[in-house]
Symmetry: C2
Subunit: 310 residues, 2 copies
C-alpha cells in the first residue's frame, strides 16, 4: 500500500480542483483518480482524472464521483485484492477503514507483483523449492535448502521400498514382476499429478471448494476408470508380446486400473484435506500423492502376483 | 491491442487540448495518457493526463512530452511487452510501426492476462494438461485429453521396465534389490525436478541463457554431489540396519550418488536443449528427465548388484 494519495473535498467544483492541481504540480505516479472526502476527511468515493478533464468545470466533485469507485478494506487479503483488480480492470484503488478513514491506495504494479509471486510459488513449491531460492544461489546454501525436501521424500521412498520387500519371496520366484513395478507406479504418479494440479489450480482460482468436491471426485473417478481401462488394455497386450505370458499381463492390467483409481481419489482428497489442515497443498500434495501411488501400485501388482502366480 | 486511442497534435497548447477533451466527453477506459502526433500523424510521444492537469495551460503539448514514453513495435512478443510493463510500471503504451504510424495501444489489463496465462501454462504443462483443460470439463473429453500425456509416459515407463528386465537374473538371486529400486529412482526424479523447475523458471524470467549454462551446470553438479553424498550416507546406514548387509548398502549408496549426479546434468541440459529445438520445456522436460533418472537409477543399482553381489 502507498500513502501518496491526493484527496479533494466533495463540495468544491472541478475548476477549483484543476487550479489546485496546477498549483500543486506533479502527481504521484500511476494516479488515475483523486480521492474524494467529506469535511471530516471521510472517504466518499473517487473522481477520475479523465472526468476532471472531460466534465463541465462548474460541476461539483461530489456530483462526478465514479459510481464504480473501488474501496478496499484493510483486512482484505492480497489474493482477494488481485482478484478485484482483475475483475474490475482497476489501475488504483483506495484502502479505507470501516469508519471511512482513508489509509492509502493500492496500485496495479503491486497487484502484478502479487500475481507473479503466486504463480512462482505454485511452480516452485511443487519441487519443494522455496520462492526465494533463485537460479544463482551458490552451492552450499542451495544444497542445504534442497536437502530438506529430498529428506522428506527419502522417508516416503523407504515406505515404498518396505512394501516391495514384503513381497521378496514373490519377486524371487517371478522376477519379471520387478520389471513391471516402475510401469504401474509411474503411471499412477502421472495420472494423480494431473488430478492434483487441476485441483490446486482450482483452489488457487477459488473455483474448488467443499460444495463441488463430490462432483469432482466422481468426475475424476470416471476419468481414471476410462483412462485406466484404455491403458490396461495397451499394457496387457504389450506385456503378452514382451514377456510371452498372459497371466502376468492380466495382473499388470488389473494393477494399473486399481492404481489409477486410487490416484484419482487421493489426487482429489489430498489437496483439499491439506488445505483444511492449513498445510500448503502446492508444497506437499505431490509427496503425499506419490507415496500413495507407489505403495498402492506395488502392493496391487505384487499382491496379485503373490496370489495368482506363485 | 485496442485501437481506441486519443491523439493530439504537438503544436497545440495544453489549454486547447483541455477544451477539445471537454467537447469530446468521456475518454476510453484506462486512458492515462494521450498520444502526441505530428502533422503527418506520425507518433512523437505521449502526454499524461496528470501533466495536462498540473502543467501551465499555455505550454505546447510538444514541450510536455513524457520523456519515458513507451513505444511498442508491433512485432514485440507478448512476453517482452509484459516484461516492459513490469520494468517501467506502465498502465498503457502505444503500439507504433517503425515508420512512426500509430497502430493502437496496449493496456495493463491485457498484460495481467498474459502474466496469468503464462503462469497457468507453466503449472499445467508440467502435468501434461492443456491450459484450456479446466476443472469442470466432463469425463469423456477430459479422459481423451489426458490419455495423450499418459500414453507418452507409458512408453518411457516401458523403457525403464525393459532396463530392469535385463537384470532379471540378478533380481532372482538378490530380490532385496527390487525393494531398493524405487528409492534410487524416485530420489533421482525429485532432485532432477528441482533442477528442471529452477531452469525453466530462469528461462521464463530471461535469467538463463547460453552464457551462464556452464556456470549453472557446475553449480548443479556441486549441489548434486553434496546432497548425493549426504543422502547416500543416510540410505547406506538405514539399509545396513534394515537388510542387515553392508554390501547392498554400499551399492545403493553408490547408485544414489550416480543417479543424483546424472539428474543434475540432465536437469540442466534437457530444458535448454528442448528450448533450442523449439519444444516447450515446461511441457516435456519432466518426462525426459524422469526417463533418464529411472533408467540410470535402475541400471546403476542393478548393474552394480550384478557385478558385486552375484
Amino acid at each position: 500500500m502507498n500513502t501518496d494519495t491526493v484527496s479533494v473535498r466533495a463540495d468544491v467544483s472541478l475548476e477549483v480542483v484543476q487550479r489546485y492541481l496546477r498549483m500543486r504540480g506533479e502527481l504521484p505516479t500511476r494516479t488515475d483518480r483523486l480521492i474524494v472526502v467529506d469535511r471530516n476527511d471521510r472517504f466518499l468515493g473517487t473522481v477520475t482524472l479523465a472526468t476532471l478533464l472531460t466534465d463541465e468545470p462548474e460541476r461539483s466533485v461530489g456530483s462526478c464521483l465514479d459510481p464504480e469507485s473501488p474501496r478496499i478494506p484493510p483486512e482484505m487479503t492480497a489474493r482477494e485484492v488481485s482478484q478485484l483488480f482483475r475483475d474490475r480492470d482497476l489501475v488504483t484503488a483506495a484502502v479505507v477503514e470501516a469508519s471511512g478513514r482513508l489509509l492509502g491506495r493500492i496500485t496495479i504494479d503491486d497487484v502484478v507483483d502479487v500475481i507473479t509471486e503466486e504463480a512462482a510459488h505454485e511452480v516452485m513449491a511443487g519441487a519443494g523449492l522455496r520462492d526465494e531460492e533463485d537460479v544463482f544461489a551458490s552451492v552450499v546454501p542451495a544444497s542445504r535448502r534442497r536437502l530438506l525436501w529430498l529428506g522428506i521424500n527419502l522417508v516416503t521412498a523407504f515406505v515404498a521400498g518396505w512394501v516391495v520387500q514384503r513381497f521378496e519371496g514373490t519377486i524371487e520366484k517371478v522376477a519379471a514382476l520387478a520389471a513391471l513395478m516402475p510401469i504401474v507406479a509411474s503411471m499412477g504418479g502421472i495420472a494423480g499429478t494431473q488430478t492434483v494440479t487441476l485441483i490446486i489450480r482450482g483452489i488457487a482460482l477459488g473455483q474448488v471448494d467443499y460444495h463441488n468436491t463430490r462432483w469432482l471426485l466422481w468426475r475424476e473417478i470416471g476419468v481414471s476408470l476410462l483412462t485406466g481401462l484404455a491403458l490396461a488394455l495397451v499394457v496387457g497386450v504389450v506385456t503378452v508380446f514382451w514377456l510371452g505370458t498372459w497371466k502376468i499381463a492380466v495382473i499388470i492390467a488389473a494393477a494399473m486400473v486399481i492404481n489409477l483409481l486410487a490416484a484419482a481419489i487421493v489426487g482429489v482428497l489430498v489437496p483439499l484435506t491439506l488445505r483444511r489442515m492449513r498445510v500448503d497443498p502446492a508444497l506437499s500434495a505431490g509427496v503425499v500423492l506419490t507415496t500413495f501411488t507407489d505403495v498402492i501400485g506395488f502392493a496391487a501388482l505384487l499382491g496379485l502376483g503373490a496370489m495368482f502366480l506363485v
